[in-house]
């Protein structure tokens, strides 16, 4: 039971922060299928900077965890500029842009990882070894039955994510920036008429989605993957999109969706393990979150409502 909660949380929270990134972008009116690419590229930049610094200074890569997080956010944000420029400046189709960015991220980071490994470190490897981040347990609280598991073996990034998520909620719903951002996704004409630059607002929203996705990707690399390789492109970005849609583009319900996915995943793994099934069956249980996605689609598609101007290219002249 405890492992289900512990593992579930450590999977759900990075997913959650990527989904928040998606919410920012989509609430501003830009469809974002590029979350997958953002999180992968962000993780690549984060991992690369950690590996390079560890190599240069001889520090243990564990101690560079926070540096890696910082760089992953910068990397994700930098990469998201492509989506922003394509969709906003050049008014490209947002779906196509997203899909292309995902393919680009996979190809580019796989290639660069192998090249950097052979040229800089002289090893023939397609991954950057990172290891698993240290965890901590809050002694008193961990002894509470059931919920104690929430405070046991916690990754530091889980705390960081919670703090950032709180701030993201505040920014989106309490500040004027957030108000304008949400209005841009509902009726950009009203924003324009109010004298606010729709393009700028949407641009910042996409960059925020890149920043948060990069962070989420890095957390996956430092936990379940323990390295950076092309395995980071497991569809987490798409799962995050599913979560935000089930969450009706709102932060708290999206958290619930992410937790559901997280527990489905850890629960699946737990069942497979406890039944001592051969590894091929473990893979079968791993599809649980995705089957769940399909089922939820049936129930949630009707009642959910996307931002009204989502995916609509804003053209001032249109009446």
């Amino acid at each position: 039971m405890d492992t289900i909660i512990i593992d579930g949380l450590s999977f759900a929270l990075p997913l959650f922060i990527i989904a928040i990134g998606g919410i920012y972008s989509e609430k501003s009116g830009i469809t974002n299928l590029a979350l997958e690419g953002f999180q992968g590229f962000g993780a690549f930049i984060g991992a690369l900077s950690a590996v390079l610094m560890a190599n240069a200074s001889g520090t243990d890569i564990q101690n560079l965890f926070y540096v890696a997080l910082l760089f992953s956010m910068i990397g994700g944000m930098g990469f998201s500029i492509i989506h922003a420029v394509l969709c906003i400046k050049f008014k490209a189709d947002q779906v196509i842009s997203g899909v292309v960015i995902n393919i680009l991220a996979l190809a580019l980071t796989t290639f660069l990882t192998a090249q950097i490994n052979s040229f800089v470190f002289g090893t023939a490897s397609d991954k950057f070894q990172l290891g698993v981040s240290d965890r901590f347990t809050i002694e008193g609280l961990a002894n509470i039955p059931v919920i104690g598991a929430v405070f046991t073996n916690v990754y530091p990034f889980e705390v960081i994510i919670i703090v950032i998520a709180l701030f993201a909620w505040y920014l989106l719903y309490k500040t004027k920036f957030g108000m304008r951002l949400r209005a841009s996704g509902e009726n950009p004409h009203s924003v324009d008429a109010a004298g606010v630059d729709v393009a700028k607002t949407r641009f910042s929203a996409v960059l925020i989605s890149g920043l948060l996705s990069g962070l989420g990707g890095m957390c996956f690399a430092y936990s379940i993957s323990a390295n950076f390789s092309s395995n980071i492109y497991m569809g987490y970005g798409f799962l995050a999109i599913a979560a935000l849609i089930f969450g009706n583009w709102r932060i708290l319900p999206t958290l619930a969706a992410c937790l559901l996915f997280g527990f489905a995943k850890s629960g699946g793994a737990f069942i497979a393990q406890s039944m001592a099934l051969p590894s091929s069956f473990t893979d079968l249980f791993m599809i649980l979150p995705y089957v769940l996605t399909l089922l939820l689609l049936i129930f949630f598609s009707k009642s959910n409502r996307a931002p009204r101007a989502l995916g609509e290219i804003y053209d001032k002249g249109k009446r």
């Binding site: 309490k174 004027k176 209005a183 009203s190 008429a193 009446r319």
Partner: protein, 510 residues
Amino acid sequence: MSDYIVEMKHITKRFPGIVANDNVSIGIKKGEIFALLGENGAGKSTLMSMLGGMYEPDEGDIYIRGEKVQISSPNHAAKLNIGMVHQHFKLVSDYTITENIILGVEPVKKLAGIFPYVDIRSANRKIEELSKSFGLEVDPTKKISDLTVSMQQRVEILKVLYREADILIFDEPTAVLTPQEIDFLLGIIEGLRNGGKTIILITHKLEEIKKVADRCAVLNKGKLIDVLDVKETSTRKMAQLMVGREVNLKSDKNPAAFKEEVLKVEHLNVKNEDGFEVVKDVSFTIKSGEIFAIAGVADNGQVEIADAIAGLTKVSGGEILLNGKDITNESIRKRTEAGISYIPEDRQSFGLVLDFDLSTNLALKQYYREPFAKKGILNKEEFEQFGSSLIDKYDIRSGQGIKTQVRSMSGGNQQKTIIGREIELQSSLMIFVQPTRGVDIGAIENIHKMMIKERDQGRAILLVSLELDEIMNVADTIGVIYNGQLQKIASSESLTTNEVGEYMMGAKHE
């Protein structure tokens, strides 16, 4: 220093294929209601959009309070205290009234001295005060999606007032309002003027100008025709200047010659989405060569009757017979083919595909059959030929001929497009729902002429209108509806406007 608060000198603005404003010069005095009169497409809105910062003129200068300015954005216009109340509301339907009003100029407070946040509470209070002081009472915490059209317009006005505008531009403000709401709005506008604000009123409705405006500029096809003192000018003269020719508001028509029965509606009942009966036991007939008008106050079931006959709404009881054939449960296409033409109330949603070009829209009811399509393959040439011939026949004006996107056309020309298309069907029954809503005088005259011409050619015509004048003017037979029931059916000669009005209010029973 001139005594004008706004001066526009030699303004020219061109769009692809059209000169929207051609060397227009106007001056507006502080504290007056200045009306801009002109038909649809005369360039009124374009001229004012340059004042509101949406466009910049190609030639000419703008002076505000004596100073030459280049208004580059709506923001800049707001800084000059110019505010525009748009015809098409620019509101976020998910937001509250307050949120919509403060968007872009949000009052910000700081939590714990660090975290800035939008101070909705004080904004709510401020807007409540503001709305009361101008007689525009609203509940600032209500969402836009819960408001009626006229309430939404109040929000647009408050938006401008909140930004402390003292030059207010109203773009066709009454196009979407009922007569009572129009009176109320005109009262508000006068109140604003008396409070020292300068008002520019864009409209094509002469009565409104006569009622509130001090001076009035007439535009025609992008050119300034004249600036008039409203008190000293007759409505007739204004109409003539606007259209560029003599206008006859009273239609001449030959006496009706009724022939065989075309439409027979028997004991019709219709329920709305919520299951309420909105049409109750309605029976009437329309003969060939007859214009049958349903008069009534809005939302008394008249639109539902038209929709039920056209097949847009399901019938819950009764029968509809067209040329003796029962069509009560037929599909819309079957009805069209059996001989029904339909000009819907909401032309943009139900009458046209706004993003299609003109020729496609004109062929919208016939595209699937020969000669427009052969074995399911569309014949583009046929579309174009048909389109071109209708453009000439019905004088549909557009920027790029048959290739024009219908969205970019003026309301009056959109309506001509629909009416032309429906007449071409040669149906035995034509249904007109509010055909002259939001179109200008010249076009109204035209539409009435077309209806009478079709009647004289032996069609049966059902007219649903909220304009009593229109009904008295063109109808042969009038059915007055109140609360879903026909109160009275009689020939138009036997009824006076007052009598019809009384039946409409449900005050008079047979």
